[in-house]
């Protein structure tokens, strides 16, 4: 399979970014929107073509999908250790290409309506293109360093887009927070990469992941504090992934990141960038699985499960509709990580891996839809606050229907997309550990509950009187909603397990009726409770919340984690560590340097009188010197 044309997929958005960025002021908004959409449409077409070619035309070898690599050496350290730049085409990268293209295209089209009349319209599209380019690069990376470079690039694009409304203080603070937290996590990622490079002598995914390769065969040759050195590297890389994917305890940036424009939240903070951590673990899955008998995967599983439960509980208590969706995203990503963590490798045992990728795929569709729907609501109501909404079903029929489909999908109601992927995850968890399965079921119920709390709160509930009558959004916004709604409904029927699997061979997944039944029952219970509490205005929910007492307050303050972080950074790190260091730096380090400078100036001002400007003084000095030298040479320099 010739994959050269796939170079265009990332390069077109880059070109669009440069074009829109350089000629920012000269391009009228209408044109810049068209350029952005058109460029991305080409990339999307190429991605779909590549997916078709890869899965249906290129032949499997011995039943397994082959990886296609196109790369060139970019920077050479030693004979074996070098950084390459290139494209890696394998099942998960092709799947991610499809996800990124689809969501990004929908968000581009949607943004033409949503951002209409905004002063920074062209800048917005330029940043969106930059992000899309970086995400393509991340997905197609052939080695750890390339993925790291694009990893940072998506971080920067995310920073730029969260801080898009740069005159708003909260947006600037949120952008800074997102950047610092993820950057802190990426520090672990970088160290992990360096350890891997040191011990295995390669950064290349294909050679790292080869079950017969040296990295996997000789993992036991180096040990450090009871684990293989490679395990430590994998833990550090998971830390990077946890930062990007907003897992506990590095999730604190994600709710604040909702300060960005809503299409950005849909694209970056729901569908694509935040799943980069999942993608990273999946990308290195054989290494995670074989080194130390999968010890690190257990960490992944428990961190994922805990984050998932934690975020779901917080989501119930929030009132900002975008933040509810943000916590929901965090919860679903925890789900994906959990599935990866409990996965086996070969054949049907790899169901967790496949379920994780499947859920990533379906989640991207319905979560983007939820965000875009929320954007449509915000566009109409001019508020993020759930308490100020209600009864919108009468004003916004299309948004209502599509939002309902997405909510049903994420709640796991058959036959929508979320049902299938969630079921696979629960099957994998059930096989692995009762605790994780239990958490999974509880989270499934909570997800259904908070999602319908949101849905009923926006579209049903009390009949709110609005200052301006809300109206349905324009076609440019409802169009993508409809497309994504259709996708959310049908993508579950894709026989995913035959395309994406840890060993690339695939298997035939079966529906496990008992487990699916439990999940659906729990989901319906959650929906039923939400129906009872929120469909019509009543006091039940308030009384129910009071029943939980302090736990409710605790959860509604996000378990005071932000405050804890602020305390640790402001009170402990800034005051106890940074301030003394700053003092030493200013007084001693800078002081000694400035002292040298000051002394030099002082001496100079003392001796500058020597340069008197008097011609005859100079002549005197000159002749005096000549005479002196003559005397020395004649009388003293006797060899």
């Amino acid at each position: 399979m010739n994959i050269g044309y796939l170079l265009l997929v990332p390069l077109i958005p880059l070109l669009v970014f440069l074009l829109l960025g350089v000629f920012n002021k000269r391009i009228t908004p209408a044109v810049s929107g068209l350029i952005g959409v058109a460029g991305l449409a080409v990339s999307t077409g190429l991605s779909y073509y590549a997916a078709f070619q890869y899965f249906f035309v290129a032949a499997k070898v011995e039943g397994a999908y082959q990886a296609f690599v196109l790369k060139g050496v970019w920077m050479r350290f030693t004979e074996t250790l070098h950084i390459d730049m290139g494209l890696l085409i394998d099942p998960i990268s092709v799947m991610m290409l499809v996800v990124v293209s689809t969501i990004s295209l929908m968000v581009h089209i949607y943004s033409r309506g949503y951002m209409k009349g905004d002063a920074g319209y062209t800048r917005f599209f330029a940043f969106l293109s930059l992000f899309t380019f970086s995400m393509y690069g991340l997905v197609l990376a052939t080695n750890l360093f390339q993925i790291y470079i694009f990893w940072e690039l998506v971080g920067v694009s995310s920073f730029l887009l969260i801080g898009y409304y740069y005159t708003k203080h909260s947006a600037v603070a949120a952008a800074k927070k997102a950047f610092i937290v993820t950057r802190f996590a990426d520090f672990g990622f970088l160290i992990g990469i360096l350890i891997i490079g040191f011990y295995t002598g390669t950064f290349d995914f294909e050679s790292l992941n080869d079950p017969q390769g040296p990295a996997i065969l000789h993992w036991a040759s180096t040990s450090f504090m009871g684990l293989s050195a490679i395990s430590w590297a994998l833990i550090l890389m998971f830390m990077g992934g946890a930062g990007k994917s907003a897992l506990f305890p590095l999730h604190i940036w994600l709710p604040d990141a909702m300060e960005g424009p809503t299409p950005v939240s849909a694209l970056i903070h729901a569908a694509t960038m935040v799943v980069a951590g999942v993608y990273l673990v999946a990308r290195l899955f054989p290494l995670y699985f074989f080194v130390d008998e999968g010890f690190v995967l257990q960490i992944v599983a428990y961190v994922g499960a805990f984050s998932s439960l934690f975020a779901a509980i917080i989501a119930i208590t929030q009132t900002d509709i975008k933040r509810i969706l943000a916590f929901s995203t965090m919860s679903q990503i925890g789900f994906m990580m959990m599935a990866l963590g409990v996965s086996g490798f070969a054949g049907h045992e790899g169901i967790g891996y496949m379920a994780s990728m499947f859920h990533l795929f379906t989640h991207a569709m319905f979560k983007a839809l939820l965000f875009l729907g929320a954007g449509s609501v915000i566009h109409a109501v001019h508020s993020n606050n759930l308490l100020q909404m209600g009864g919108l079903r009468n004003y916004m029929p299309i948004t209502n229907i599509t939002f309902l489909i997405a909510a049903l999908a994420i709640a796991g109601v058959p036959p929508l997309a979320g049902f299938w992927s969630k079921d696979e995850i629960l099957v994998a968890a059930f096989a692995a550990s009762p605790l994780i399965y239990g958490i999974g079921v509880v989270v499934a119920g909570l997800t259904a509950f908070y999602m319908f709390r949101l849905y009923f709160g926006i579209f049903w509930g009390k009949e709110t009187r609005y200052a301006h009558a809300p109206h349905e959004s324009p076609l440019s916004m409802t169009g993508p909603l409809l497309v994504l709604a259709v996708l959310s409904a049908v993508v579950g029927f894709i026989p995913f397990s035959q395309f994406v699997a840890a060993d690339r061979i695939g298997f035939v997944a079966q529906l496990h009726w008992e487990l699916a039944g439990v999940a659906v029952a729990v989901g319906l219970l959650g929906i039923g409770l939400a129906w009872r509490f929120y469909k019509t205005e009543n006091a039940l929910a308030g009384r129910f919340a009071q029943g939980f007492g302090p736990l409710y307050t605790w959860a509604s303050h996000k378990f005071y984690l932000d405050e804890l972080y602020l305390f640790v950074t402001r009170q402990l790190i800034f005051k106890r560590i940074s301030a003394p260091i700053a003092y030493i730096d200013k007084k001693w380090v800078d002081g000694s340097m400035e002292g040298i400078g000051n002394k030099t100036v002082l001496i100079a001002s003392k001796i500058k009188g020597l340069q008197s400007g008097r011609l005859q003084d100079y002549a005197f000095a000159f002749i005096g010197g000549v005479v002196l030298l003559a005397l020395v040479f004649v009388y003293l320099w006797t060899l």
Binding site: Q611, R614, L615, Q616, F620, I623
Partner: protein, 105 residues
């Protein structure tokens, strides 16, 4: 060879001339006088060239040729220096050495 005069006497003459020039260069307060002192120094060297040529290599002419060069260069240098002094005079209405002291740090 000049009968009755040894090279020592001639060199003494040129040394005296040279040091008069140096002394004048350093003590005169008038730029024109300073210029004249420079001429004295140059002339002392011209005498040295001619006489040493005469006493050490009487069959050659280099020293004499050089002295003509020096006279030519001295003439050019004087022309230049006088031009500078004229311009300076236009600026500060004076030819005193003291007035040129402003060019410093």
């Amino acid at each position: 060879m000049i009968p009755g005069i040894s090279i020592t006497e001639v060199l003494t003459l040129s040394s005296i001339l040279f040091f008069i020039g140096v002394y004048g260069f350093m003590t005169r307060t008038n730029l024109i006088s300073v210029l004249i002192s420079v001429e004295l120094i140059l002339n002392a060297s011209v005498i040295n060239f001619v006489m040493i040529n005469k006493y050490l290599f009487p069959e050659l002419l280099q020293g004499v040729v050089y002295s003509i060069f020096i006279i030519a260069v001295a003439a050019a240098e004087t022309a230049l220096a006088v031009a500078i002094i004229f311009n300076l005079y236009k600026q500060v209405s004076s030819v005193a050495v003291r007035e040129t002291e402003t060019m410093k740090y």
